[in-house]
Amino acid sequence: MDYHQLVKDCLRENASAQKQLYDHFAGGMLGVCYRYTKSMIDAEDVLQEGFIMVFKNLHQFRFQGELGGWIRRIMVNTAINYLKKNSRYQTDLLFTDTMLHPVSTDDPEVMLNTKDLAELIRQLPPGYQAIFNLHAVEGYSHVEIGKIMGINEGTSRSQYARARALLISWIKKFSAVNKTETYARP
């Protein structure tokens, strides 16, 4: 797809081009939003606000990077803002644990499929969930996460270590259950 032309058409307020852009990225971006929220409804709300922001700020896209990456960053920022604004997430986003927690060196093989893994991530507390997604999936540094979330770097590291350990334990349990079920099957 010629993103360059597509963006130009969208800037001309071509409705079909806008729809084409939306259709092309909406599925993946909804997956991003899904990882940051607790329900599909919230995820779609974030997706909607995110795409509104995309079309509103599309003129700022300079074609210096991937269009998908640019849209993804908008979606992530929109999701974080959504979490901050939504009262259901605000209490869980309070980070009081500033103690450092060593990151586990345990790197279990992730045998889960994509949706199962996403479901486990979504089971994390919202604070853990956001930081885990930002660091492990999006690749943000803890400094960047600290700025985004309004916390210091140490808190981000601590929260991430806890989230990672928690998720790994869940993955192990989930894998064990599936393995048992597999063995149990005739």
């Binding site: 599925g27 909804l30 990882r35 509103k56 279990p108 949706k115 893994l117 999936v137």
Partner: protein
């Protein structure tokens, strides 16, 4: 340092995570994009509306300024016929109210004083004028039909060469003159411009005008003009007129501003004070828009039977056309405003409003003209070339001035909801009191001009006004500016004397509400 193998696997798997969003998401997104377009178009709409309003106001001012109100016409025709006759256009007794006010003056050709005798001129309704008494028909049927626009004209014809021998004939030899009711103000003065060739011109044309009283009001008459003096009209116009100073109450000014809305004015409901002002043009018209159907012209126009006299007129005639043009007007005052709701506010004010109209009399020779104009947007003039070349025309101007003290009451409604550029529509009434005036009036009954301070002017005026104002804010001070028009609901003067006159004002208004600098 741990191996980020776990993170890579998670990242890889999450890249594959996709869902199909519901249709509602795109619907809402597209709707929001559409609303964004509407919001983008909204300023264009309001700016266009404002520009259109300003353009309309400017066009109105242009019309006001360029409007030529041919209030009256006086034509004096010289004829070599030894049996000179003077024809006075006479009111149609059957034509209505005007006939009752009509006065007819006949002037002796021997130089006698102007008498109050009515000439034997037949009425228009009769359709015929005796040839011995009516000398010249000045208008044709077309002019008659065109005169139905409420125009007033005075037509005086006097055949040149009148000699003392003519004095024996009272009706035919006397130079007769008629003052015709006109909407204009200055037609009658030109009556004095009887040509010097007419011996009767030695008579003071307006001898009795100096003592004229109208409806119990003493009219300050201009000095009687000698018919022998060709410059009578000029002298009349150049005479120092007593300044009329009328104070007019200004238009209601200020309105609610968006900033006031932001401070919950509807809750506080406090009075605000400010200054208002404006400048533009004013005029005095019979009606605001549209021509008035009037039969006044029939009082003046001779029937077609007298066209023979027109053909017989070999000598050039003189025409005096009086026009009332728009002139400068301005107002200044203070106001207090109280919001009634978020978008509606009531305003009380006190303004000093200056109106002025310019009266222009043009003297033309060799033409017989019929002019008609009584409304703001209607002006028609007809002219037929005379047999001889026309001498250069002369113009004389006089400015009528009024000063009114106004008490405007108005409601102001915020049309849009824009906090940056609120648009207000304002409408209201104002009661005004004439403080001073310097006016040259034309008495339609006697055909004379007279100065008047406050004699026949209705001192109390009721006016309606409307304005479209754009709100601006500078460091806490709110400014509203936009076009404004005001029309006098009550007659400016005694209609029985000068005809129906209403003040009209159009200009740019501004209102300032001082605020605390933030």
């Amino acid at each position: 340092m741990h191996d980020p193998k776990f993170e890579k696997e998670v990242q890889q798997k999450m890249e594959e995570l996709t869902f199909i969003p519901s249709e509602a998401v795109w619907t809402n997104v597209s709707l929001h994009i559409g609303r964004k377009k509407e919001r983008r178009l909204a300023p264009v709409f309001w700016i266009s509306l404002l520009a259109g309003s300003l353009l309309l106001g400017a066009a109105g001012l242009y019309l006001l300024y360029t409007h030529k109100e041919h209030n009256s016409l006086v034509t004096i025709r010289a004829n070599q016929d030894p049996k000179s006759t003077a024809i006075l256009a006479r009111p149609d007794k059957n034509s209505g109210g005007w006939a009752g006010h009509q006065e007819k003056f006949s002037r002796s050709s021997t130089g006698g004083a102007l008498s109050d005798k009515s000439t034997a001129t037949p009425s228009v309704s009769s359709g015929h004028a005796p040839e011995n008494k009516t000398g010249i028909a000045l208008v044709d049927k077309q002019a008659i039909s065109n005169s139905r626009h409420g125009q007033t004209s005075v037509i005086i014809t006097s055949k040149a060469g009148n000699t003392p021998a003519n004095t024996g004939n009272t009706s035919a030899n006397k130079g007769s003159r008629s003052g015709r009711k006109t909407d204009g103000q200055m037609t009658g003065a030109s009556l004095q411009q009887a040509e010097a060739s007419v011996p009767a011109s030695t008579d003071p044309v307006y001898a009795e005008a100096g003592t004229a009283t109208r409806n119990g009001q003493s009219l300050v008459e201009l000095a009687p003009l000698d018919r022998d003096e060709p410059g009578d009209l000029a002298a009349l116009l150049k005479a120092p007129f007593l300044p009329n100073i009328n104070s007019t109450a200004g238009l209601p000014g200020p309105g609610a501003n968006r900033a006031a809305k932001n401070t919950n004015l509807h809750k506080k409901a406090v009075w605000e004070a400010g200054f208002t002002g404006g400048a533009g043009f004013s005029t005095a018209n019979e009606r605001l828009i549209g021509a008035k159907t009037s039969n006044l012209m029939r009082d003046v126009v001779q029937p077609s039977s007298s066209f023979a006299g027109l053909a017989a007129a070999a000598a050039p005639s003189k025409t005096y056309t009086s026009r009332t043009n728009a002139d400068l007007s301005f107002l200044a005052g203070i106001f207090a405003r109280r919001p009634l709701s978020r978008r509606v506010a009531v305003t009380l004010g006190l303004n000093l409003h200056y109106y002025s109209t310019k009266v222009e009399i043009t003297e033309k020779g060799g033409y017989t003209s019929i002019s008609a104009a009584n409304s703001l947007f209607n002006a028609t003039s007809y002219a037929a070339p005379a047999p001889s070349p026309a001498p250069p025309e002369e113009r004389h101007e006089s400015v009528n001035q009024y000063y009114f003290l106004e008490l405007p009451v108005s409601l102001q409604w915020q049309v849009n909801r824009s906090p940056r550029m609120p648009l207000f529509w304002e409408g209201g009434l104002s009661v005004s009191r004439l403080m001073s005036a310097n006016v040259l009036y034309f008495d339609v009954n006697s055909g004379t001009y007279f100065k008047d301070g406050r004699g026949i002017t209705n001192s109390t005026q009721l006016s309606a006004s409307t304005a479209l104002l754009l709100g601006l804010s500078f460091r806490g001070t709110r400014l509203q500016v936009g076009p404004q028009v005001q029309f006098g609901l009550t007659a400016l003067t005694d209609e029985r004397i000068t005809g129906t006159k209403h003040l009209f004002y159009g200009g740019i208004k501004f209102a300032i509400i001082p605020g605390k600098r933030k």
